[in-house]
Symmetry: C2
Subunit: 442 residues, 2 copies
Amino acid sequence: MKTNKSKKNVERDRSLETPKGVRDFLPEQKILREQIVDVLKKVFERYGFNPIETPALEMLKTLVKETDSATDAFNEIYRLEDQGGRKLALKYDQTVPFGRVVAQNPQLGTPFKRYQIDRSWRDGPIKLGRYREFWQCDVDIAGASSMIADAEYLAIVTDVFKEFEIKVEFRINNRKLVEGVLKYAGIPKKQWMAATIIIDKLDKIGDSGVLDEARQKGINDDAMVKVLDILSQKGTNLQILKQIESFVDDDLVSEAISELRQVLKYGAAFGAKNIKLVPSLARGLSYYTGTIFETYVVGSPVKSSVVGGGRFDNMIGDFVGKNVTVPAVGLSFGLDVIYDTLVSMKRVVPNKTVVKVFVVPLKTEVQCIKIVTELRNAGINADIDLIGRSISKNLQYANKLDIPYVILAGQSELKKGKLNLKDMKSGKEQKLTIQQIIKKLK
Amino acid sequence: MKTNKSKKNVERDRSLETPKGVRDFLPEQKILREQIVDVLKKVFERYGFNPIETPALEMLKTLVKETDSATDAFNEIYRLEDQGGRKLALKYDQTVPFGRVVAQNPQLGTPFKRYQIDRSWRDGPIKLGRYREFWQCDVDIAGASSMIADAEYLAIVTDVFKEFEIKVEFRINNRKLVEGVLKYAGIPKKQWMAATIIIDKLDKIGDSGVLDEARQKGINDDAMVKVLDILSQKGTNLQILKQIESFVDDDLVSEAISELRQVLKYGAAFGAKNIKLVPSLARGLSYYTGTIFETYVVGSPVKSSVVGGGRFDNMIGDFVGKNVTVPAVGLSFGLDVIYDTLVSMKRVVPNKTVVKVFVVPLKTEVQCIKIVTELRNAGINADIDLIGRSISKNLQYANKLDIPYVILAGQSELKKGKLNLKDMKSGKEQKLTIQQIIKKLK
């Protein structure tokens, strides 16, 4: 570029500012993000999930129910209008559009297993690791109430991270377990959601923190003490279930325990390991109705859950018709947190370029075009100097981008049919025919 | 799903309506779209282009210059505001954000070769093949003025379509050729853009159509006759260039002819064929400054250009600073038109699912989970009945989705260690061990 001026003092015809909470991904990030996405796709497809795409733009009234007005999602939706004055919105997740698609396309049949790797937008507060435009990698099943479906996700997550040579640990629970215990302790139904969200923080804020927050929400203290007592059982997964079963005689709790036992049984059949039942686990979203999952990477400096989700048997029905139930269960893989985990654990090294070899013509453009074409035809990612720079400038450029090999091709080399292949890491040069170079680089 | 009611009479909590001009892609479309994208990526990377991503949301003032107010792009931009009242917009192409990224990241060095496969949004009229939300597959180079860069695109396009076993035909020209001839004919500079856009339609509306439209725009008739005369030369590419050269003595025209000769020479070195110089070709966008490309598929019922682009040496400079020039050239592959071409030429058959084999447990869930896990571990896309349906219902389901194989596994089969593999196309059944099945399906 023909400019060296500092950005601030330059007059320009267009602004360089970008919106808050959005990001550019340059090659060094984007190449690795694509590699992660490719692994996710491969594993999702191996499990019989098919890709779909829904638009970024939805009708506002598709995304929000009238009763939604107080929720975060409602307040964080980017709204806009088209030429015709229609009220539109940018989707804030992949799950609600999935519900719409299922309801609109009964011809798809059930169960319908789909994955969607796409952006979502939320005009919310920007914190570390939270953006206004971000990617979600969602796998969901509609139309399957069997716990085999829930258990299958344990295998999917295990397989995804096996591809990165990483071990994971699951934390699971069932929403009905928490609700059943709240019911058993005598907490009224209208307080269940608030209580559930507070209980989910037990690990972070401890018993006293939970009781404080519950008090502030007007939840009965004695009842809450009873709830915490029941949900704090320790032992193996099956011991915990047995203990809770022996304390609490309640339909919801029995249902939850039976479902959890099935998930554990089928999960073991799928070969999933490190599954930890955490009776206080609840997750913040209101639409979960059964199994709840979180996933942590063993030995990772990144402490957040890398994959989370659960069963949401009531949401898709909202699109199909009043009082219709479509059982559904799914997970969302966080692309940003997986990226950070892989990089921080040094499981991958981000590349600055996909280019494997760079051809430098020395007044031999036409011959070098033929050389680079041969390399490309052999399936090698190859590039060629397009601007006639000096050898040293070209080597600098290759070095800057970490391109592993450079071919130097002057008239004399071309005449002899041997090219100079420079290994940029070792600095070593070898004289090879183009066929030898192809063999070496493949 | 537990509903059979017709959509119209159903009361529901959420709307099924979608915005005008946007689309869902169900597996049957999305699987093939992904396959096309994978081919594009592979070829782009083979040519040394690196992926980048820019956000959907840009500042409005990044996308539009103050002088842009009369253009289509300006009128078709979806505008919105964030919480902080900032004026945002959805990007309407990948090229303007590319310009911003290049200007913001001098550390990337030049030439900077990038590809970006992403959505764009234009709130414009909806016609056949025109949508408000659509995908663009863009490959651009910043910082290379050599015609090697322009010629390389001929090879990229050829290689992409070679992957689909399809032959293409190029139409090329140079914006300076048209402008130089307009200048030579005495048409004032302020009419060049209008005249160029009219001349571009020569193939469709003929000489008289061009002259009519030019008259309506107040362009001198005699001058326009002269222009058409010069731009209607016939013959081989080199003959046409020679003829125009012999008629017109003008700097711009000489420059265009020299550049076109280089593109043809380097294009031949890259192995590109079927390049047709069309002196009236201009393309509608105002930002082109040199080489112009269009691509047509030989023998396709789809008559639109599948890839188009050209050189735009002035646009990126707008972001860098006043009076700065950053040479740039690029192409945009149209995903929709490539999809339609491949399907209409029967070069590909869209699949309804990625699933290769479907496992049906006959009261043998846990054993079948192990079988499907073995198949998946072997890299085979496999699925399993999740809802305990009857054999006939499961076969119907597999048939509906065109899943090629079904495994039926009852207790007796499992005891003998042989499974029933049903070929859904032929209807033939074979008793095989799991290892034999894996070998057969791989």
